[in-house]
Amino acid sequence: MAKRSVLERINSTSLLALVLILVNSIYLFEAIKTAEPIKNGEVGITFFPIVASILLYIAAIIIFIAGIKEKSVLSFQLSRIGKPIMVIFLTLIYVLIFKSIGYFISSIIYVLCLMFLFEEESGFKKKKLLNILFTVIIVALIYILYQKIFGVRLPIGEVF
């Protein structure tokens, strides 16, 4: 077997470990910027986070080394992560519009889109009406639970 360079050996395990090390460095930098860990003999607000950060470096480096010793190489299956990314994107939109356009419209859009995403490959068109019906029922049930039973106010939308 030809010897591979470290760069070639990067796989998903070691890549995530590298990301963790990077995030950890940002965290540590923020800690050092905020305050001294120990001042006048007193433990300050960043002492404990800095200890945690150092421990995370150690653990992440162990994983990184274990990762580059693995035989697998970096590979992406775009087909696998396509849908999760869509779900993340949809949820993000939902959060952003939730308060401004209100619970009802935003939730109906959100649930309908999720239904579409989770639908069997060809089924959506066939059951369009059924899907809309289920969406309205789910959204209404949650509304009744909160607003009617528990008296919690869900946003009705700022534009109305």
Binding site: K39, G151, R153, V159
Partner: protein, 328 residues
Amino acid sequence: MKSRNIISIILVIMFLSLFSIASFAQDFPTKDIRTIVPWASGGGTDAIIRVISKIAEKSIPTAIYVENIEGGLSGVGLYEVMNAKSDGYTIGGFTYDSIVTVPRQELVPGYSLDKVKMICLVTKEAGAMVVREDAPWKNWEEFAAAAKENPRKISVGVDGIGNAQHLRLLKINEVTGLEFKVLPYPGGSGEKKEALLSGEADAIMTSLGDFAPLIHAGEVRGLIEMADQRNPQFTDVPNFQELGYEGLVKGSFVILATTAGTPDDVVAKLEQIFYDAHHSDEFRDWAQETGVVATWLGTDEVTDYAMQVQEDEFEMIQKLIDDGVIEG
């Protein structure tokens, strides 16, 4: 064509809503009033605001509902009040931290007391120090004598370093010349009770109301209160004023406030609603039962009171920083 229609509808709605605020204030309230408690549900401030708003609700045609929005030492929830519509339908409960700590430390960006209109003060609780019933000190004099002999040895629990009760303790130090070991218990009054009963802390900075069940049960004794008159529910606890110490009248409170810019007659209506609730037997009885001290300051006085507290505390904190007692 279509978009112009939408714009005109929006304009009409805006106009109508302005109109309804401006001239129908005598009908206030026509919809439910949102009350924000910036602390966890189940806590002391939460109970006070929930009870008074439940009673107040009976005198109006709509509901008053409570939402608990925690975070930023009350700053996060109250920030919502500051940014609500100026129509009096959003109210928040302000405590010591909301008036002093949050603005002073600039914990929540955009937070400013200029953005609220205070309605009334409903409760006031003097700071106090309590010890276990079986503690070797029977009264303040004995406690002070022991502290003088052993500076920094007797431990006193406070809520957090640089928080209200710690500042009160530092003020006591300054006036009396005593020094204590400070232990922080930021987890609410439960944690402090635990510390006192387990013997970890020798004394606790608190309010007598918070420790009422344990005082009544004979587990804990009120040592001294930071007030100028005796607490009607704990008449055997002396205060600093009567022992001849100056400047040791300090405590916390619950102030109700709405968004700045709310029309005066709406604020007056809100004041009236809460005045009636506050002076009802139901509220008084409840306060008596649970050790809460019901006090009333109306719209005319409450803002001056709060600003005075803020000024005094800022001045004191600055002095402590200058003296190197605490950090900025």
